[in-house]
């Protein structure tokens, strides 16, 4: 390829291998990239020696420092079905477009009454969306929407899993997906009492096994006492 440069020009460097490599890397990163939309809150989970990966198929409740709960399902079809059921239950109508938008959200933390408005808002405006008080989980005034979300979302996610499994068995292909699991992601500095409310919601639904999301660290967890 490299020919002698025409007279007077700068010496040409053969860049072909570098360009080849660059494109190889671009291809690799493009194919492995998984795009996520911005989470409504950023929480900083505590670290632990736990080495279990977060299962791909999960139903996650995120709790931020102020104790607000955010709900999300990894399976987008299950998410859409759950919204339809919740819509019927709470008599809040959603347009088909809103439902599709909803399936792209990683999690949300608003009352279902505010959800249509939340979905119509621009993506950049969602973080500062005003009535973002977390999914209600009051037990005193019976308005535990989180409980319904978990119950309905869990059922839909299991349904999706079963369907995929049956399909795989019929066609004789190997089935690798795992059963949906319940995960709790919580900021390190959240008061445990808020987490307790969420866990109570789960145990009320007879769900006792969770994956608590943590960051990886080496060795044990040692916090030097603050002086």
């Amino acid at each position: 390829m490299s020919k002698k440069p025409s007279k007077g020009g700068a010496p040409a460097l053969d860049m072909t291998p570098m360009v080849d490599l660059a494109f190889l890397l671009v291809t690799f990163f493009m194919l492995t990239a998984s795009f996520r939309m911005a989470e409504p809150v950023v929480v900083d989970p505590p670290s632990s020696i736990g080495k279990v990966d977060l299962p791909d198929n999960h139903i996650m409740v995120t709790i931020d420092e102020k104790g607000r709960a955010f709900f999300g399902i990894s399976n987008s079809t299950a998410k859409m079905n759950a919204l339809r059921e919740m819509s019927a239950k709470y008599k809040v109508p959603f347009t088909e477009q809103q439902i599709i938008k909803f399936s792209g959200l990683p999690s949300f933390g608003v009352d279902i009454k505010d959800l249509p408005k939340y979905l119509d808002a621009k993506e950049s405006d969602r973080t500062n969306f005003q009535p973002q008080k977390g999914v209600p989980l009051d037990t005193i005034i019976p308005n535990n929407q989180l409980k319904d979300w978990i119950a309905i979302g869990g059922r839909e996610a299991v349904k999706m899993y079963e369907e995929a499994k049956n399909k795989a068995t019929e066609s004789g292909t190997e089935f690798k997906a795992e059963k949906p699991r319940y995960a709790i992601k919580c900021a390190a500095s959240t008061k445990y009492i808020f987490v307790k409310d969420v866990i109570r919601t789960f145990t009320d639904l007879k769900l006792f096994q969770f994956n608590l999301i943590t960051q990886l660290e080496g060795g044990g967890t040692i916090v030097e006492p603050e002086k």
Partner: protein, 211 residues
Amino acid sequence: MAEIAEGGGGGHKGGKKRAKKQSTRIDMTPMVDLAFLLLTFFVLTATFSKPKSMELTFPAPPEKPDDSPPIKNGITFLLSKDNRIFYYEGEFKSTDSEKGPKTQLSELNFSKESLRKYLLEKNKVMQGQVKDLIEKHDKGQLPDTTFKRLVRERKADKNTPTFLIKTDDKATYKNVIDIIDELNYNVVGKYVMVDILKSELDLVTEKVGTN
């Protein structure tokens, strides 16, 4: 720059005259620029590791209140603000009685010398046994299944303490994770999260103050 050299015989197209040995060259600079731009973007946005998690099973709430079975050999941790841990061993006694004196709280913190040392001491026998089993297993003297069963048996042994973790309303999530983590680190087999009792809360409040 990287160039594409056209083979010979390209000189008659469109009637344009070209120098015979001059090859057509495409300037690839913009393409390479774009490739590197994309590369940088994907490298920076890539998330490599999946978040890790810790599996935990919570106890089912008792059917009737006050129906929970008494726990023998229990050690209760009470977590409070400022990363403080209080603990007492055995049953909670609100007053002096024939069973023993009134429960006093002792204090630990999350440092290596304190909590880990305490757990190590409480679990010495069991940890020794588990270690022996691991050694035997590594030497190939124990089949995997037997090894698993024996470890489980050791962990569930009646004489090993059961740890109860309770929190007041000022403890943070991090405290809870840290203590569970430390228990896991010390191969403790039996621990459980329980709601704090009013009388225990009073004792903790006495120690840390109300603010």
